[in-house]
């Protein structure tokens, strides 16, 4: 795994008359699970969009190691993204979806890798031809994770990953994130779930009205600590 740091320097983002992010400077290092917290409209999803290269900052810059992340950057191949929506084709089966993306990423030994990923997310048992449209939300979320992990990206981005999962699924996902972190990847997740955050996060960022209100790295938070941090950082008028 590479040890490139993902860095944001004075990043701002405006949409027309609305400023979503202002003057955000952060550094994410490999081997950490960074949780981005904040009330609705604080700019969390916008931040994730910028990190995924699908949106461009209005001000400031985002770099991965020495290279700047931009819309055209080939670096996007080293970023895995799991959003609210699974980002797969409902008319294709799980395997066909993964085959498509394996081929677009130019993976060697694709079939082996696909089988490995399906087994890992627990979808190896589903009927081969079943279209993803017939999957439950939880299964789709697993497929989305398999899709994101397929090219073994350096950075994994998650937008409220647990929202579609039942408690068992959420626990499973937390285990997977832990495993990716231990493998030296950087995991950035946006979430509302403070308790789940406490279990896995090693770096907490709280956004409030588009600005960084809290940014600390430290291993193992307790649920109460996370709640206290969150409440302290988002206090005042929303």
């Amino acid at each position: 795994m590479s040890d490139r740091v993902l860095r944001l320097v004075n990043v701002g983002k405006t949409f027309g008359r609305h400023r979503a992010l202002a003057d955000v400077s952060l550094a994410f290092v490999p081997g950490e699970v960074a949780a981005v917290l904040g009330p609705n409209g604080a700019g969390k999803s916008t931040l994730l969009g910028l990190l995924s290269t699908l949106a461009q900052p209005s001000q400031g810059r985002i770099t991965l190691g020495d290279a700047e992340l931009s819309r055209r950057s080939p670096l996007r191949a080293s970023i895995g993204y799991v959003g609210h929506e699974p980002g797969v084709y409902g008319d294709l089966s799980a395997r066909q979806n993964l085959r498509l993306f394996a081929s677009l990423y130019g993976l060697a030994n694709a079939e082996l890798r696909i089988a490995e990923m399906l087994a890992r997310v627990g979808l190896d048992g589903v009927p081969r031809e079943a279209a993803a449209r017939t999957f439950s939300r939880g299964m789709l979320q697993r497929l989305a994770l398999a899709r994101a992990l397929l090219p073994a990206p350096e950075i994994l981005l998650f937008d409220e990953p647990g929202s579609a999962l039942d408690p068992a699924g959420a626990a499973w996902l937390a285990g997977e994130l832990q495993r990716e972190r231990e493998a030296g990847r950087l995991v950035v997740l946006v979430t509302h779930d403070l308790a789940a955050t406490a279990a896995i996060a090693t770096h907490i960022v709280v956004l409030r009205r588009g600005r960084v209100a809290y940014d600390e790295t430290c291993g193992g938070y307790s649920a109460d600590e996370v709640r206290a941090i969150y409440e302290e950082a988002t206090r005042g008028k929303a």
Partner: protein
């Protein structure tokens, strides 16, 4: 990051230019047009030509300026280019309306029908429709609307010669395209004077409209600054 403040001197210059333009547009041009020789077959009706042709020319100019601005916006991220594209598209719709009103008037008097599928009239109509569609894309196109509109402007500009050729051959007519160079000598001065006045009017309107857009952007920036100041000291 704040935009430049519009200067007071700038507004005085604009006032003078506007005054000058008004005088020439309202007094000199009509006088010249009224004193131009009458066209032999069409008579007084031909005078609408001094109004119609400059508008058609500005419709075309607007399309290309809009495409130029869109190009700068799409490929260089220029907000100024985007404003230029928007404002010129709006002016294109306005002058296009003049073309669409004066064209049929002329057609009625000259050929007895309100509309003919004449190549220049039809091409103007299509250009005008494209600029209206540009406005629709911007207003109702959602999050991708601005970019979509910019792409439309590029396609519209690429379309201009294609539309002209295809409409021309579609009708199987080969009308004389050298109307201007075949103008009687006495008509040239009023025609080119009208053309210049209309172009200047277009330029001034464009500058004013751009300034309004610019002010609006600046207002938003200021609102954000105020919001930030409040945000920092809760």
């Amino acid at each position: 990051m704040l935009s430049r403040m519009p200067s007071a001197r700038g507004s005085r210059v604009r006032f003078l230019v506007g005054l000058l333009l008004t005088m020439h547009g309202f007094f000199v041009a009509p006088w010249l047009v009224a004193n131009a020789p009458l066209e032999k077959t069409m008579g007084i009706v031909q005078k609408i030509f001094y109004f119609h042709v400059p508008c058609a020319w500005l419709l075309m100019l607007s399309t290309f300026v809009c495409a130029g601005g869109s190009l700068a916006y799409l490929f260089a991220g220029s907000e100024r280019g985007d404003r230029l594209a928007l404002c010129s598209a709006e002016l294109g719709v306005l002058f296009g309306l003049c073309v669409m009103v004066t064209g049929p008037l002329w057609a009625r008097a000259a050929w007895g029908v309100f509309w003919t599928w004449d190549v220049r009239l039809t091409s103007s109509l299509l250009l005008w429709l494209m600029l209206i569609a540009y406005g629709l894309a911007r207003r109702y196109g959602g999050a991708g609307g601005r970019r979509l509109a910019a792409a439309m402007a590029l396609f519209a500009a690429a379309d201009v010669p294609l539309v002209y050729i295809s409409v021309n051959l579609w009708r199987g007519l080969h009308p004389n395209t050298r109307t201007v160079s075949s103008l009687a000598p006495g008509m040239r001065l009023p025609f080119f004077f009208s053309l210049a006045i209309f172009s200047a009017l277009w330029g001034v309107l464009l500058a004013l409209r751009m300034r309004a857009e610019h002010s609006q952007t600046r207002l938003v920036e200021l609102a954000i600054v105020i919001e930030d100041a409040e945000g920092k000291s809760p």
